[in-house]
Amino acid sequence: MTTVELAQALWLLVAALGLSLSVQYAGLPVLGQGAFVAVGGVGTALLGPGGAGWPLGLAALAAVVVAGGLGHLVAFGASRLEGAYLALATWALAWLAYRLMLAFPSTFGGAQGLVRRAPAHVVSPALGLDVRLTPAVHVGLAAVTCVVVILAVIRLDKGPAGLDLAALREGPELAASLGVPVAAHRRAVLTATASLGAVSGAGTVVLLGLVAPADVSPLLSLQLFVAVLLGGAAGWWGPVLGVALLTVLPHVADALPGDAERARGVLTAVLLVVVLVIRRVLSRVRVAVPDVGRERPVPAPHVPHDVAGTHPVLLEASGITASYGAVRAVDEAAIELRAGQVHALIGPNGSGKSTLIKVLAGELVPDAGAVLVGGRAPTGRGPAARVLAGVAATPQRTVLLAGSAPERQVAVGVRGGTRPRHAVLRHLLGTPSSRLAERRSRALVAAVLRETRLSAVAGVSPTELTVGEQRLLQIARALATGARVLLLDEPAAGMSADERATLRHVLRRLAGNGLAVLVVEHDMRLVNAVADRVTVLDAGRVIAVGRPAEVRASPDVQRAYLGVTG
């Protein structure tokens, strides 16, 4: 391997490491890293010496910024939808960049490629700098870039960004319900990926003096995708292994009979298939690894108490009407949740309980009506904004972050509820404030696990949890956001009798700590035992509110439940 080839491989590794942030860590299918590499290369060549004549560093920086902006823009629309749209958007971008380069030969040099007509020299009289960029210098520069990126990624993964990434990868919808701004994080990740792609392109064009469409084609995008997928959950050395394989691939292709370009394509496709098979096998074999070796949580303060006896209203909704098409699921419903009380929401199937909870949680915008949190209309839309206002909901189905131990899942909740500015950057730099925040977070996680009776299973694999523990974990995550109002949709579903008793205890304790807890529940024994107040919905309308005994006695309720007419 010549020095030039080594330098080229190292610059390619920068692109792969950048892509691994999106694919490996955030679980985003990005198929357009080649386009960002192209922007870096073409931008540097066009703007720098030999082109528009900007200093080389400035030209490269500008190209990186443009690529990052492009990544942000592409993610802007697609990140609000399912992850797969990002695959489509980046795949289209890969082809757009490729076809643009071919379609406008006067600008991009056509199939031959764009030649950088400048000596590989960095001269800065101001800094007294005069460096010849020999291949050996490139090897050094690219290697340092790779090491810095790898170290940064390893460090990031251990801090708050690691929680964000795990949430993006394992359960974006759940993360959103815990207040994690999923779309913003996706944009940030793709911006980083694109920027590193452009760094790789800029380095390569200075090294080779040329950027040709065939070298930054959609095939490159796919090869980088394969390289990164190959690593799977392996961590930073996955991309390293993948890029090593990519550098061997052309040699293998040349040795095969027939057109070498075609052979490369076939080999890439075969690699993709192999990677997919490996992934499937692994997903069957791998039982999520428990987070062993993680420090045990330090003892922690209590979740704060409110003054007992007073029950201020924490959440108030009135005139809520919500429809699905022609069906009016909730019809002018009103509900009041008070601090220190467990409030049960009951009613026959299809009476609109889940719809009402979705409205309260900010997941569904009602056709009419108002929701006030702490007497004020919460700013912002969606569940993430509601979490910041202090209202967190648990979904009816149990959703787990399949690869994260319970304590880490609870930490995602902490992260969603408190959003300190530049937390990721501060963690990367290891500032005192970030260390303090981490200690606080760990203490809060421990307290929450204790409140929800999950301390014993804090570090186990989530697949080992019983249904009841999974349900409690849902409550724990929501509680960890710092919410004062918890909205629990059928928390007892699937629980054994013992687990129901635990749940009853947990709910009473939460209310005792001054929280307002709303519970949708079918089990009337549980409701009678745990609820301070009950609201009964029937056909979307509130037909009774009061203490459990009062509600039970109401003829309207008996009619709704027993189906007696007249």
């Binding site: 592409v74 399912e82 289209a92 082809w95 379609a103 057109d259 394509g265 993709l272 997919l276």
Partner: protein
Amino acid sequence: MDPGVLLQAVVSGLATGALLGLVALGFTLVAGTVRVLHLAHGDVVVAAVFTGVLVVLGRTPVATTLSAGPAVGFALLVLAAGAALSAAVGWLAVRPHLPDVTTGRSGDALGWVAALVAAGLLLRELLGLLLPEQAYAVPDPFRLDAITGSGVFSLPGGGTLPARVPAVLLLGVAIGVAAERLLVRSRFGKALRAVADDPDAAALCGIPARRVVLLAFVAAGLLAGFAGLLYAGDPGRTIGVDDGVVLGLAGIAAALLGGLGSLRGALVGGLVVGVAQSIAVTQLGAEYADVVPLGLLVVLLALRPQGLRR
């Protein structure tokens, strides 16, 4: 812009748009049924055409006019190949990554994305090994250019177009509308919507969900076959084995424009993309032929992924 030239550009754009609509229809059908973005759909279109070419004309095809027998055989072969390839891609690449109630497996978007790009790449490269030239002229089994005696079609305003252009437009729209009506009205269409709404509930109602999904891919493949025949049969055009990706992405742009999942929207979206492309090419130059649909798709996804309807 001279109105005669504009009319010319619009009509030929509508013709391209009609066949793009068929590609978009297939894409939106799959997306609506199994919530998968069929990234290899364009490759299925082109691979279907070349399968017919390989069987009927061999590995060194030359531009010919097929006589009646081979023409019918070629057309049927392309349709069958479209259906078979689409079904194979659906079964081998997509199905293993779909959510499955019986095993409790959840869907794996990263998996089907990777599998679909692998499938598309394999189709392209394997065909490329068999057919090494840049591009090939493909016969038109329908002989649409002979539809008027002179081979040209006069437009009001003095412009003329090849006779096949309005024929492609009519045929494309007819196939699209017929397919759309069939999908809305038939029992199969109802089963599709049921599976799309809730596969578990559909299965409980006795709808064979797996078979319905497979049939959705077959239907998309048939539409791909028709689109391929209309696209490749143009005597003024040669096609290469790699052309499928951009064709497919143009179809996806059309499907998104019409609102993903909407069959009628896909047909209309196809016409819009076709006209935009045609006007750009006549006004700005042939180099914009690929750039316009690809750019449209990127911008659409960045700014308005839900389409223009909502």
